[in-house]
Symmetry: C2
Amino acid sequence: MEERILALIEEKKYGLLRSELSEINPADLSQIFEEIPENEQPVIFRILPKELAAETFVEMDSDTQQRLIEAFSDFELRQVMDELFMDDTVDIIDEMPATVAKRILRQTDANTRKMINQLLDYPDDSAGSIMTTEYIDLKKNMTVDEAFDRIRKIGFDSETIYVCYVTDAGRYLLGFVTIKDLLLSPKDRIIGDIMDENVIYTTTMEDREKVADMIKKYDMLALPVVDKENRLVGIVTVDDAIDVMQAEVTEDIEKMAAILPSEHTYFKTGIFETVRARIPWLLLLMISATFTGAIISGFEEKLTVFPALIAFIPMLMDTGGNSGSQSSVTVIRSISLGDIEFSDLGRVLWKEIRVALLCSSILAVINALKLFLVDYLIFRNFDLGKAVAEIAVVCITLFCTVLVAKIVGCTLPILAKKIGFDPAVMASPFITTIVDAISLCIYFGVAAYILGA
Amino acid sequence: MEERILALIEEKKYGLLRSELSEINPADLSQIFEEIPENEQPVIFRILPKELAAETFVEMDSDTQQRLIEAFSDFELRQVMDELFMDDTVDIIDEMPATVAKRILRQTDANTRKMINQLLDYPDDSAGSIMTTEYIDLKKNMTVDEAFDRIRKIGFDSETIYVCYVTDAGRYLLGFVTIKDLLLSPKDRIIGDIMDENVIYTTTMEDREKVADMIKKYDMLALPVVDKENRLVGIVTVDDAIDVMQAEVTEDIEKMAAILPSEHTYFKTGIFETVRARIPWLLLLMISATFTGAIISGFEEKLTVFPALIAFIPMLMDTGGNSGSQSSVTVIRSISLGDIEFSDLGRVLWKEIRVALLCSSILAVINALKLFLVDYLIFRNFDLGKAVAEIAVVCITLFCTVLVAKIVGCTLPILAKKIGFDPAVMASPFITTIVDAISLCIYFGVAAYILGA
């Protein structure tokens, strides 16, 4: 399809192009646009039907949007902006350089401009910043028929018509009705009689992650948002909630990999921004690893007596790190899904300890067999007493390290959450650094005891 | 609220209880149910209004569902099942032991039973397994008014009425209309004239993750599903798509932490199931770490000459691992969001190399300063020549390790995706093991060159 479209553009067959493009979904169309030569983009955009043009515009990346806006006449700009929902307009303005943003605002009427400025003022992660102000509000004393009249009147400009909100004269939220309720009720029923008063809502300052969680939990198509005075000011729709969920997951995954969250997609993040996001944790963890080094330094002399012990350090550190990160990542994800709370700490510990005992036993036994069969029998001069002692040191350390790693791994995220830190930070890299130090202490302790080192 | 409900149960104030419970949302009510003593649960369930009871039942965990089903009479069971949507019924049957599943099936009529068995047959991760068969189908030659009549007739039993599908006599999908289109059209318009023929659909065997991606990409409330013969057989609604997205993210996060994905929540997964999910990667990575050990063994003699070098092994390994996992996790997430494809490999490499050069320079310089100022000046007998040589070895290794780690970290997930493996597996633990071996080789190589070790 894409090739055909690009060929039509080359041949300048604009009539055919218009009818072909009109059949394409805005989401796909915005991707095709990114393939069109930049200087052709405004021309092609102009041949789209008005509504499709606006819907496609919303889906484009901000560079393409900016390029188009700069090519638009004021009249064209106003035409596109008129078709947009308020939340999309605000998102676009948010991404534009100040001069472009100002030009957009100049094309809107005073009321809209006031509204946009209000929405721009909400903190980035708040419900207010992702809500739209276009919804259908009904009055309690309307009949079902009157409600349908109102939906027909303002439905074109409303982001969703499937849920309608009932407000009083002071815009206080009284309840809601769905289109389903309206369709399945007699035409002369009063809205006040069929509305559901148990309306779930949120406030403008609520964290957008919580908003998305509510929409998910209650299977909602839209969540109403009220201001400090409890007046209905907007709704958050399910498609925007999905975008928030995705962004929050990306943020969590980045934190788990010791990266400071960034706002942009991979290629939209500049080199310096990427470095700024990655270097702090690398530095911190590098400095922390000094302690591990200090532990080794403390045992340096003894290691020169039993040099074979050095070779096992990476295996012990890696296995400890992996065991710990399995537990921490599992617990972090369960916390964010709401499956684990602070009061579950005991149960989590009890489960992880049993899992750790089983895992560490299996690992220790298989490691002992492997060391004995492969490393000693085949590769080394065979000295039974020494081999058994060394294997014992390694496997006992392995057993203890895995146990400690899992306990540390499952405890830290829960404690972090309790004291108000983000549990996601307590993932692999952080756990690895701690477990490294502990496992080396265990290693040298066990070695000292068994080998007299 | 929960305390008040539990108190009312204790006092057996069932009348008051019924009116209190009726005000609560099914999602919240199902959570309250888990707090009610098990033997009281059936009693309280029976007080609920029929529709609310069924909606709450769907939200419960499978243990509570099973307990209730076992307490139900056949008549009660049939009553609850009659209220459920087909996809929920299938999900519940899927989770029940065979005897309970059979009992549920016996309470359904022959047609429904046939349908359920068909749905149960779809593979676990397919569109067929998450779709529901209750949707509104219209005919092309209906008027808008006739369409509303049909919606009123079958709307009660349909999971969503907001999108209606137009099919021909052979159930082939011709197009769709939204309730919004219907409401905004004159009553005598013909459906065929207002329907949108550019309908986006999927097939029963499509991967459920792709289905969720489509619903997200096109901001859909429901996605129609057709069978092999292109006949409409069901729809996937946005709330189910959100559940799929969440499950897929959990799976990805587990894979990144070297855990085999499990189906259940943390506490619902047994000890043995947890061990089975965690031990394979631990074993594999433990065995792989043998190579790292072998590298150290090869340099054992030289290490005894320069024992100070041993102390830096953990720091070098950890920093390498962290740098690599930052790149791999970023790339893995970008692949799953569709931001990075195989054709981007060159661009990704170019970006990561520049980021790596900056990061590794910063780390090397700060590490050199720290070693010189803190470790050597304060803690050691000062021997300038030796100190500078050792610091040079460590910092050059650090520089090279970070560079290699980032290149390996960004390349492997993209290659894995290309040859059909899951990129998520190429995350921290796997990268760490590879980077460990490489960084030690670099370390000993640099040491041999500079120190003549």
